[in-house]
């Protein structure tokens, strides 16, 4: 890691994170495939899916932390980029179903047959090719973020106003994707996927490989974010967060910095969404719901913003708690979750990682 010019000891959390991901990458295949199903240590397909979901959410949290924690851009619409990446993957997976759909049409997905469409809309062309679909998983979120950021940052929209229009953006997309005539399956979205690149999505090996790819994507995104925030560009970004007009005055093109960072963040969110869909097996317009974007911000706040690994820890922790509470106390889980957020806001303003680093200083 020497090439990243890390200051020794400055990134213990990141080292722990990478170690944890390595442990997951080694033990998940062993616990799932080598340990017999009868053993208590066996990791079920459900367990793998759950883990994969947490890691995808962790990538979304990382994307939010990069722009919020370091540049002060509070996006309340990041789930939109996540969902667009997911939809691009979903379109590929729908095309892979081929004639195995309920209606047996070799080209058209079931929902189009149901709507009495006769031919594939133009924007579905190419999605039977994985390379093209993979490009779209990155390019569509990047293009939306680029367009949105270009207008918003140039108009010098900042602070709460920017947050509100990001929220409006994801809400508008949700309403659009709910419409059947948009050609994205309306409120049902996409589901009943069969296989990816010829591998059965329901097979344990495919699930394990998808999880390993998610681990790799999370680790790669983390390292890329780390590289950015530790570079001079990263220091400019923090300068923008703390004194925007001053940064502009000493000659930095503030809007361009924000735009690059916003687009890169959207790409991470898009990749996360693309990895999420084959593991969960469904994507629908509900993913665009404003509450999803707000939850992502809460994960970052709980973990501790402006640390990168804190965002990841927060996403995993809050989602684990959510899974646990919904199972153990289905009646009161929302209250338990709410109480956790109130507690963190009141007593841990710098999140969980803030608590740990303060403890470290006391010693």
């Amino acid at each position: 890691m020497r090439f990243l010019h890390w200051r020794p000891g400055s990134d213990k959390g990141g080292t722990w994170l990478l170690a944890l991901l390595a442990v997951i990458a080694v033990f998940v295949p062993i616990l799932n495939m080598l340990v017999p199903a009868s053993s208590a240590l066996h990791l079920s397909a459900f367990g793998i899916t759950l883990l994969g979901k947490y890691l995808c959410f962790a990538m979304l949290a990382l994307a939010v932390d990069l722009i919020w924690g370091y540049c002060g851009i509070l996006s309340l619409g990041h789930a939109a980029f996540f969902s667009l990446g997911g939809y691009a993957m979903g379109m590929y997976l729908m095309r892979q179903i081929g004639p195995r759909g309920v209606y047996g049409d070799p080209i058209l997905p079931d929902f189009m047959v149901f709507l009495n469409w006769k031919s594939l809309p133009w924007f579905w062309y190419g999605f039977n090719n994985f390379a093209f679909a993979a490009l779209m998983m990155v390019a569509v979120p990047a293009a939306l973020a680029g367009l949105f950021g270009w207008f918003a940052f140039r108009a010098r929209v900042t602070g709460v106003y920017l947050s509100i229009i990001t929220q409006a953006m994801t809400y508008a997309l949700m309403l659009a994707f709910f419409r059947n005539d948009m050609g994205f399956g309306g409120n049902n979205g996409f589901t009943d996927f069969k296989d990816i690149l010829g591998f059965d999505l329901h097979a344990d090996t495919t699930r394990v490989v998808l999880l390993l790819m998610t681990v790799a994507a999370l680790a790669g995104s983390y390292l890329a974010c780390r590289y950015i925030v530790e570079s001079r560009a990263g220091r400019v970004v923090r300068a923008i967060r703390d004194a925007e007009s001053r940064t502009r005055f000493i000659g930095y093109p503030v809007e361009s910095f924000k735009l690059w960072l916003f687009v890169f963040s959207a790409v991470i969110a898009g990749v996360a969404g693309a990895l999420y869909v084959p593991q969960i097996g469904i994507i629908n317009p509900g993913e665009f719901a404003p509450i999803n974007s707000i939850e992502a911000v809460i994960w970052v706040a709980v973990g501790g913003r402006g640390t990168l690994f804190g965002a990841i820890a927060g996403a995993i922790l809050v989602n684990y708690a959510k899974t646990y509470f919904t199972g153990a106390f289905p009646e009161i889980w929302l209250y338990a979750l709410g109480a956790m957020f109130v507690f963190v806001t009141l007593f841990l303003p710098r999140g969980i990682t803030g608590l740990i680093s303060e403890r470290g200083k006391e010693k």
Partner: protein
Amino acid sequence: MSVRDKRLYLESLTVSFDGFKALNDLSLYVDPGELLCIIGPNGAGKTTMMDVITGKTKPDSGTAWFGREIDLLTLREPEIVAAGIGRKFQKPTVFEQLTVFENLELALAGNRSFLKTLRARISPVQKDRIDEVLNIIGLTGQRGSLGRILAHGQKQWLEIGMLLMQNPELLLVDEPVAGMTPHEIERTAQLLTSLAGEHSVMVVEHDMSFVRSIAKRVTVLHEGHVIAEGDMDKVQSDPKVREVYLGV
């Protein structure tokens, strides 16, 4: 020295805001390497004059030349900064969450695009320059401290240091000692005096004892016009100045 060899020429500048003349036929020159102090009551046009020099305000009439080659009225704000005019505002703004060293690093001259700064590394020459400026502003000991823990005076010096990183030929300094302790004022006086010579420095200040301690030449503004010029003693004994500014 002939009239042609001035660093800055402001001639017959007039700026009006809704009929109010903030600058009224103002003419003023700055010599190379000179430390010039501008004094004047509130509303005398000191800030408007700085705004014209830095391109923030365009005058209704008059000319502003930086040396003999550069017509300031045709340039935009960033171009004027690049031409070599640095301005320190009244209220200190340093980057609070960056160290003193990093503050100066960001002020280094160089390509400011995202992709270039992403891969930028500090060269030994740049590092030496930062250390040199740290020495000039007296913050060598605070090299690794975060901007936010600096005292008020230290923030002002750091901001002057950030201007120095761009090696400006003319420094405009707006009320540098407002809110400083006597000890800090003394250090600031030393700093500004040491900068003159290599840079031309124009200081706007209210604190009379401070102006007396640093200025060789003082210019008094009143209602957008220069009413007196000369050394402090001459200016203070000028009857017009005593009437409008010193209130005697």
